[in-house]
Amino acid sequence: MNEALALLFSPWGLAAIVIGTSLGVFVGAVPGLTGTMLIALVVPLTLGVDAGLSMTFLVSIYVGAVSGGMITATLLRMPGTPASIVTTLDGYPMARDGRPGRALGLGIMASFFGGLISWIFLATLSYPISKLATKLSYFAYFSLVLMALALISSIGGKSRIRSLFSGFLGILIAMPGLAPASGQPRFTFGSVEMNSGFEPLPVLIGLFAVSQILREIINLSRKGKPIEIGKDSVLLGFSDIKNNLVNMVRSSIVGTWIGILPGIGANIGSVTAYSIAKGMSKEKEKFGTGHEEGIVASESANNATIGGSMIPLLAMGIPGSIVEVVLLGALIQHKLQPGPRLFESSPDAVYTIIGAIFLANIAMAIIMLASMRTIAKLTRVPRPYLLPIILFFCVIGSFALAGRIFDVWVMLGFGLFGFILEKLKIPLAPLMIGFILGKIGEKALVQGLQASDGSWAPLFTDPMALLFFVVSLVTLFFPWIKPLFTRSQPAAS
């Protein structure tokens, strides 16, 4: 614990937090740049840096990026990140009505609050959950992965079948390499470089950075109508906290829970919390017209997903969202294998990460309050200056990972592939999650079958395995099951 504090409060530690959070807020605010993109590009470059310091920097970017999106969502009606899509619904109308300062002030307060509540869950729950995780059998792990896949397909997109297809495409892409059971190569087409399959990071940089840049180039002429931050006060009174307390606590808990569920992240968290807040509000009709509750719900929930999604990452090595996929890779690169061992063998690393999230939240609130005018201007940096640099770092980042030009081609290939998929309206997030979970799930299944001598019985006799399996089936077939329960009240919605 002391070592972690010493690191976090050392000049390097504080610099990592402040710079990381600022960078995060910036990429979060610029439409088209996301925290995932930046973190994926930074990870290969932190290889030579101390593990604690690297992770501090990375989680600070994460916290900043989820928060920064609301600036442009409110002022330009262009959400900087998907996590802030819902914030535009009320943030922009409120800003247009001449209260941009108040809209941002509320958003910052809610973000800070959401971050803190989920941080409390992270700090208290991750160790017990990691202990619990060792009790999970191979088949329980396998059906946990199934459940995660079912969840992304049902919550993560507009069309169930498209999300599911995307998820399975991800699993398929994870297949090349050596088979986990026999160690024999499969789908490598005789290429030696394919023996390790596709590395997650180049795939991720391609899918989420390159394809996004292509879209940005296509929309080069798009401009948002900026609203200048006026004279209205950003600062809030005590009554604002009191009035929004219930909403903030509720939305933060929703966000944390969505975060814990593997595979879905900040954008789903904010949408869910927003609709719950709307459903429970006395002034439903005001939502979408510049209503304070809307901003608060969305922003506290999207920040709350951070703490939530770090829990399965640290406790079980299962990524809670796309960003955690990258953080998982970063942890392993720095010899920090998530799981119960992590808490016992490198407690300082865990304390550092958890502490960094706390400090980054504070830094985020201060940076946002102090510099939102500047950031709002900075987001208008002309794209021709910004995009080539990002492309350059896409190449360098993919190469630096293992020193193979092969990975760079993989990155470019997936950039194009991701772009085409989006054109076909197939969401990319399930693909990436499927890609990561596919490997984890297949290995768990193979191990389970090896242990049971080829029998599938444990899937039904192990209570946890059965529970997860049933939940995944229900989630998957919910739209067809639902009518059976709601027949009595037709046309309810």
């Binding site: 297809f165 292509l214 080069l220 021709p384 200056y385 360098i396 293992a402 309206k425 049971s452």
Partner: protein, 458 residues
Amino acid sequence: MKRSLIFHILAVVLIVALLLWRFGVFGDSAKLSEYPTRAIRVVVPYPAGGGSDTFTRIIERAISEDDLLPVPLAIQNLGGGSGTIGSREVVEAKPDGYTLLMHHNALLGTYVDGVADFGPDDYEKIALTGSMTMVIIVRGDSKFQNLQQLLEAAQANPRKVTFGANQGSQAYFTAKQLESQMDGAEFAMVSADGGADRYARLIGGHLDAGIFALSEYLDFVSPDGTPPSQNIRVLTVMSPERHEAIPEAETSKEQGYEVYMQNIYYWWAPKGTPQEILDKLADVLKKAMANETVISELNRLRINTEYLVGDEMLQRMDDTLAVMRAATTNSDQQAKIPDIPFFVIVITGLLFLGVIIQSILGKVPEEDTVAADDDSGTYPTHAKLAAICFVAVAIYVFILQLKILPWTLLSCIMIIVVGGLMSRWQPKRLLIVAEIALIVSLGTAFLFTEVLTNVILP
């Protein structure tokens, strides 16, 4: 206007400073003329954090601290497939001394078992640098007290006692060798990743036994007083003699089975690497093994410090191979695993059909259109420009692969071209793009050659 002038002045100053650095005005940048002139890549075929990785990094630190090589060793973890992914990479690498492999006995195991179609003969051997005592571990409250009981259980209920070992790994052979000591004894062999994974499975009760390196055991064992159900215990030390670190643990010999296992670290180079390079590297390793820190670190990790080259090294290798070959005569049956890729392909195909049908029926979901709608108005799109930029980057990567131009220059050109394309070659913008290109490419080169030296650049 004033602000942009300041920007230009700052940019030019920075560029000049970086150019001066690049062309060696500061300090010595004497070109190295003989091997090695650039970073040497050492492939560790296991994920970072495992025993092999830790070992390699201890040696690497000594080499860089004592300046035994003028260039850095860049360690690359290529885990997976029981170590075959990383080792195969080195078989195929150029025999120029810039790609090496640090791998232990598992390389022999995957060869003997047929998991890999290459073996020790496909490499040049540099040196043997250390060995590890191995122990069989069970959970603290396990009913097994010795090898006899473990094997009897495997005999009474064949393929019910779970044993963590990847197919083709040395642990796997040792387990097979143990099975052959008692008629009809058969373990259920479960693939397991690294020590951390096996530990978690043992603690959770999903594995009955597993083989660990002594160093892993000492690392994982919880302090005295931990309830046995949450701790691990040594069942047997797989050597003829007890180890001073755990004097109370019985050896396999004492328990009546002459089955031994020791893991040995070797350094390998691609077949055809010139002898003088091998000698030079062997010499570097010899000096590294004599480094005080290496000796104390290896003692701490309970790795026996050894250094062998030439025939003595080959003799040790042949001994291990002989033991492994003897164990493979044992019958070998794997649990029935379904053809997972086949099912994934079928399901993906069916879902794809579903997507097509959905598209034909016109039930395509709406996009999230919050970002771009009435307020932004309509604007022209630039699909062609995006395609040209993408092709430009692809050409950049292709030339990078050919290595005919220095990457800083090439990167600079790429940024100018792509940035220029996007700004439609407006002179005013082009100037800024060029400044950015110089700063970014030279700055990156500076950052990763002077500050963060672990990063491999093209």
